[in-house]
Symmetry: C2
Subunit: 550 residues, 2 copies
């Protein structure tokens, strides 16, 4: 029996470090790697009537989140090949009759910090045989179902789904509570079905935050009921999202919502409006938001209407985007339009503001508006770099410029998300999956209290060269490398990472290549266009060969 | 009211040429362009309970092909945005209550030459209002539903699905009965869900033959029950298809088949085994098929076992692949292993064969085997080029080397499929969609009897650099350019193409750019990763911008 064990607090219990990584670890093909895995060498087979059992669970599943998750589990494990239903020659004790899910919390509110832990057992020699999944919340249970799906594979001899390496005992929880992927629907519009496909694929890698960079200078695709002309800034009338579309992506609130796609899959949606820069498209519908017709961004800091619009947007957002955080951008603000436009120059003079103070004024006022709508705030790191001590204490600073700022952010007592562009920007095609994998968010952060302020990381799929044709293969498999680091962790690295200075950590991702290749082939089997590992991002296969070797 | 009319025989009636292309043709965004279109300037809206009516139809739909096609119609038109069900402010006379489908043939056998014509009417001012679709077969009706789906779009004001340009009168049928797309699962394995996605996208462009180049030198992924070791030539145990998987793709016969994917969508599957070259992988399981261990292809012409295996394969195929044709390859045969291997050299000597005669012997014997299993044969053009007058009269010659051979093939009284590599090979990334569009299969073929022997064309997605990550955006949108040519035809070209010598035809595809861009954006909306038009194949968007402009 193989064994991976990592000292980790789980469900309130301190698990003891009972062994180092076993040599046969490479035979495990679960991605991301769970915290603790024990497994054997026997096989069970999914019964024809593989069922979901929920006796003893405290979660009523009125909204069908668990039931639908179970149904998707069956869909993905059965999609790769036709099951030929000839169970007569099976010893009934080898048939797994179902999975028994026990959820301890009746609550299915999805929010930052929700308990995502789970414990999965696949025992032998019970009659009848059921897998057993225990979780605090339904979202932990969804992760457990996802892990279970990765223990399943089609057996070409028996023609049914086999669960290999039984018995399994898997104990798991995320290392970071924020495991994000940014998509950008301003540089290119992404149709709703494409966004749903991205969400599906995030589920497979246990990412849990879709950071939706909705709007930027190039286009404003989203309906804002309070300011109905603002989506005149869309590329075309077709390339728009209604607020009901947004609700469909996120969850049901006041809008009709047929599937509430992300929430039902355990994925929070972090909506962003990037102000005061990156907002040129706002002025198509409301030109007074521009400093002038010749100088169109940043938003006019001197105009009260600017803040009224932000307030209207966040008011509308608060009905749909229920994640605790809203992203207010704040990066790359070139204030020259403010000083070259007479009425703004006068305003600055009256207030006694220089450009930098006006930028601070804008960001802090936008923060106040967000706070008034009940949001905590995420801002890109320039806000911290320029006036970190003025930011609301409810700010999460979003690193992007490079390594290093995270340490300063948490030392200042603020929370931080890591997305350093040299390692975690997916549009940087020359950044390899190995570099994604080796990017350690906690670099040089050793104080456990400060480590807790580092709430996670995010890989960013900026959309300048990304549309519906190339988003999947640019995201995957590199985003998965970050997911492994931020959900589970390859044991060898993990054990050391918790105690060992960063510069002494193992730095060889070769030991996980086969497992990542397996995961990318699994994504292909599930219809996700994940690219080969060999080469830079979005590379085509170099030559004929097996998926597992490319 | 706009008008496109083309003189064309349809449903037994000679339609009169009643007008030239109208200037407002560009406002039509149907792909491929139907034979005849009349449309207006009013709008209807899909009712909340948009239904399928079949009164008066002679087709019982026992297998649910029509019902499922209707259900997919609703899925694709409703996928792009959330319908907000507030019909109260609609004039009931503007609500389209459903589509009334009348199918004249009770038979749903899918086969080469099946009647694919349809007539679609969307009238105004009837109470209650129904669209009307008439077709000879259920497969014509599926095309009609596809066309109808392209007349639908989400209306951002009323928040429901709008049918614009009503009243519609569309009369349509394919120009060619064979409209193919080749996929290659030997150079890279394509998981079942990926093949299904390709089939879905073919439906949108009204392509009707999936040419499945199953096996080649690199790998043999398909189970052959008669020779159970032959899929030892697969890349890995996971990268294989069971015969039940194949049946699932094609249709239900003796194997279990849950969805019989292609047939239910009106798509024939042309299976290929490419002999005697391109068959190295056969010998992994049966090494005696190789001339020797040092010289592994072509298949050993002197070994009776070689033909027994071909017979076994085609016997197994005949239970699953029910298309009239089987593809036997026959291209790029380098016979040097036959002359350098002593036992084959001796055999040639005994028979008095030179290499070329041995190649002919092999191909004709394989043809005889195929004929004995009830198949007609497709062979790559080298067979015709070398011994065309010896080929079975049931041969369809598959052009690939370049233009020109088609004229000779049909002059010799054989049928031909056009895939000249300089224009219709999708793996040639530098071939633009314009070149795909301008490739005329009937070049220099003027005799109407000979024109009929040209049964169609096929675009080829060879798999050396294609796997699950890049197949869709390499196929689309360029394959659509060929589809427009071989199903409907842009009226301006079509009218002329039927009467005018090829060298006098309009050669400017610019007039259809906007319509093709619209179709590629539609594919994106339906979750198909079709690439931008601007640039070579599989190009990423060059810069931020609207889908419709890239």
């Amino acid at each position: 029996m193989g064994k991976i064990t990592v000292q980790r607090i789980f469900l309130g219990f301190l698990l003891q470090l009972i062994g180092l990584c076993a040599a046969d670890l490479n035979r495990l093909n679960i991605w991301p790697m769970p915290v603790s895995v024990q497994y054997g060498h026997q096989s069970l087979y999914l019964s024809k009537e593989f069922v979901l059992k929920t006796e003893g669970t405290k979660y009523a599943d009125a909204s069908g989140i668990l039931k639908d998750g179970f149904s998707r589990l069956l869909d993905v494990v059965e999609a790769a090949h036709v099951i030929e239903l000839n169970y007569s020659h099976f010893d009934p004790s080898l048939l797994l009759q179902g999975i028994h899910v026990v959820i301890l919390s009746p609550n299915d509110e999805l929010q930052h910090g929700v308990d995502e832990s789970y414990k999965l057992l696949v025992p032998m020699n019970r009659k009848p045989v059921y897998a057993h999944l225990e979780a605090q919340t339904v979202y932990g249970a969804l992760h457990g179902l996802q892990t279970f799906s990765q223990c399943c594979q089609f057996n070409f001899t028996s023609r049914v789904i086999e669960v290999r390496q039984v018995p399994w005992t898997i104990i798991d929880q995320p290392r970071f509570s924020y495991r994000g992927l940014l998509i950008d629907t301003s540089r290119h519009y992404q149709p709703l079905p494409m966004i749903k496909r991205v969400i599906d694929s995030m589920v497979y890698a246990k990412l849990n935050v879709l950071h939706w960079h909705i709007v930027d200078s190039q286009s404003f695709p989203l309906e804002i009921p309070s300011y109905p002309k603002i989506w005149d800034g869309a590329y075309s009338i077709a390339e728009r999202y209604t607020m009901a579309d947004a609700a469909e992506i996120v969850r049901q609130v006041t809008y009709s919502c047929f599937s509430c796609y992300a929430q039902r899959r355990g994925i929070n949606v972090l909506a962003e409006i990037d102000v005061p820069g990156h907002a040129l498209s706002w002025g198509t519908g409301y030109p007074s938001l521009w400093p002038s017709k010749d100088c169109k961004e940043p938003l006019d800091v001197s105009n009260e209407f600017t803040f009224k619009v932000i307030d209207g947007i966040l008011s509308d957002f608060s009905k749909v985007f229920k994640y605790r955080f809203i992203h207010l951008g704040g990066d790359e603000v070139n204030t020259s339009c403010w000083t070259t436009t007479p009425h703004i120059r006068n305003w600055l003079k009256q207030r006694g503001f220089n450009e930098s103070e006006a930028y601070q004024y804008f960001v802090l006022r936008a923060q106040d508006i967000a706070l008034s709508h009940g949001y905590e705030i995420v801002n890109w790191e320039e806000t911290f770099n320029n006036f970190g001590n003025k930011l609301s204490r409810k700010t999460v600073v979003h690193n992007w410029l490079g390594g290093g700022v995270a340490k300063q952010v948490v030392a200042a007592g603020l929370r931080c998300i890591v997305s350093n562009q040299d390692k975690w920007y997916l549009d940087h095609l020359d950044t390899t999956w190995q570099e994604f994998y080796m990017n350690e968010p906690l670099t040089n952060i050793t104080d456990p209290k400060q480590q807790k302020l580092l709430i996670g990381g995010e890989v960013c799929m900026w959309g300048e060269h990304i549309d519906g044709s190339d988003i999947e293969q640019t995201i995957w498999p590199r985003a998965a490398a970050a997911a492994d680091l931020s959900f589970g962790l390859f044991c060898h690295l993990d054990v050391e990472r918790l105690w060992t200075p960063y510069d002494k950590l193992a730095k060889d991702p070769r030991q996980i290549t086969a497992r990542l290749a397996h995961f990318r082939c699994l994504l292909n089997q599930r219809g996700v266009a994940a690219a080969p590992l060999a080469g830079p991002g979005r590379v085509a296969p170099e030559e004929p060969g097996s998926c597992y070797m490319q």
